[in-house]
Amino acid sequence: MAVLLTRTIIAVDLKDIKAIIDLMKKNSVSEFELEKPDFKIRLKRGNNGAGPAPGEEPPPAMTYVQPPVLVAPPPMPSVPPITNELEIKSPMIGTFYRAPPPDSAPYIEVGMEVNRETVVCIIEAMKVMNEIKAEAKGVITQVLVENARPVEFGQSLFKLRPS
């Protein structure tokens, strides 16, 4: 079902729209139009994604997905990822360190090959030192965080191209 709204829907309650759609379905009504001084809505039932009938002026359409989800942006065509790179993420909030002691060389650099067990960095949270492993075999393509910066839970730390 495609629902086309000509103006902003901010002023209307989504529940009301859903009730109208349900009524349309129940009574096999294919089109519904309502106009008020500051608001106009036109609902049209048909095939999913069906556009306006030929000859009709195409309204500045917004696609109304499904209640109770608020008006979603038009669905993006699913673009296949350019690479199948993986991201190594932080399992905790903490401070990101690229090297074990401050003066030693970083665990890894861009271009280095790693395997599942390779330690790539340390995350420190209140003196708990967490060695982060690559968890995948591949080549590091990007370091996303600067040394000694705070990181959030689930934040991406490195990009890795699996091999």
Partner: protein, 332 residues
């Protein structure tokens, strides 16, 4: 429990009294000759056990050595922490040994002590001075049912447990410097460094590495640490029995670990906050090349330090080196 530990347990239970060889033999279901030979072996370790023909055996004094079975026999049976204890004469770092145990699948609660460490370590590659027979250098293996983000609860639990044990065993007023250094009169007497192995959603294991400067002399510390570090002996003016302190710490750690497992973290955090002397003071936090200055205002729910910077911004600190720039007023 080894026969040695059983003998010591029976002798301890008798207090200043004596236990006859016949009774020990009956109780422990071994011959009187076997008891005699083990008593001789314990004497070689330094246990002063008096024996008389009509008296039986009496434990006069125990040496200041860490004896794994003896320590184990002094803990409660239900206790998780210390259900397996090993003592090394010397090792690189007890954290290394426990890491090996962890990878081998040993169950949680295993504790490894070393009388000396050759590569004892602190935060960020720093050395932890661990001279032979003068401190407690040990590591504990834990497999807590926690999310990796909750591992900081263990930082807090280790601080409260260690502080209580030092206070009750040595009678010293101890405080906590954020997050878990133990200070006596403003100087560090014990430190904790934990190492965590975790997946994104689950902790595999945590190694709590603990160092307590028990009977170190001033000269045992490197010159650059002498103004910041202290030992229980230096503060007390007498030596502290390390086995007694070790038992006290393992008991307190077990108590706080069980509080975490039962979800009683809030009470633990409150105790920690009560003794955390960093709050309310001007602090400098060094995060590699980055520096944060401000007033340590309060603690977040997870124990992070909230610092009000000079720009009035509240910064959340979870790592780094904290220096308290204004000496605390409570020092005596």
């Amino acid at each position: 429990m080894s026969l040695d530990a059983q003998i010591l347990q029976s002798l301890r239970a008798a207090g200043p009294g004596a236990v006859s060889g016949a009774e020990l033999s009956h109780r422990l279901k071994v011959s009187r000759a076997a008891i005699w030979s083990r008593v001789e072996a314990l004497r070689c370790l330094g246990y002063d056990i008096q024996a008389g023909p009509h008296l039986g055996y009496r434990l006069v004094s125990v040496p200041d050595v860490l004896h794994a079975d003896d320590l184990r026999s002094r803990l409660d049976k239900t206790q998780v922490i210390g259900r397996q204890i090993q003592v090394f004469q010397e090792t690189t770092s007890t954290n290394d040994v426990v890491e090996k145990l962890a990878r081998d699948g040993v169950q949680e609660g295993a504790v490894v002590f070393a009388e000396a460490q050759t590569r004892g370590r602190g935060r960020r590659g720093r050395k932890w001075v661990s001279p032979a027979n003068k401190g407690l250098w040990f590591s504990v293996l834990l497999r807590p049912p926690l999310h990796p983000a909750e591992a900081t609860q263990l930082t807090i639990a280790s601080a409260t447990a260690l502080r209580r044990a030092i206070q009750t065993e040595a009678g010293l007023e101890a405080s906590i410097k954020w997050p878990n250094d133990i200070l006596i009169r403003g100087r560090k007497a014990a430190g904790i460094l934990s190492e965590l192995k975790a997946e994104l959603d689950q902790i595999r294991y945590v190694i709590l590495g603990i160092g307590v400067d028990v009977n170190l002399n001033h000269a045992d510390f490197p010159a650059d640490l002498r103004t910041q570090a202290t030992s229980l002996k230096a503060e007390l003016g007498r030596e502290v029995a390390r086995p007694d302190l070790a038992v006290a710490i393992l008991k307190e750690l077990d108590r706080d670990y069980s509080r975490i497992r039962r979800g009683h973290f809030a009470a633990l955090a409150a105790e920690w906050e009560e003794h955390c002397e960093t709050l309310g003071h001007e602090v400098v936090i060094q995060l590699a090349e980055r520096r944060v200055e401000g007033r340590a205002e309060t603690l977040a729910e997870d124990g992070a330090l909230l610092v009000r910077t000079d720009h009035g911004h509240l910064e959340r600190i979870v790592g780094g080196d904290v220096t308290v720039t204004v000496s605390h007023q409570g020092a005596r």
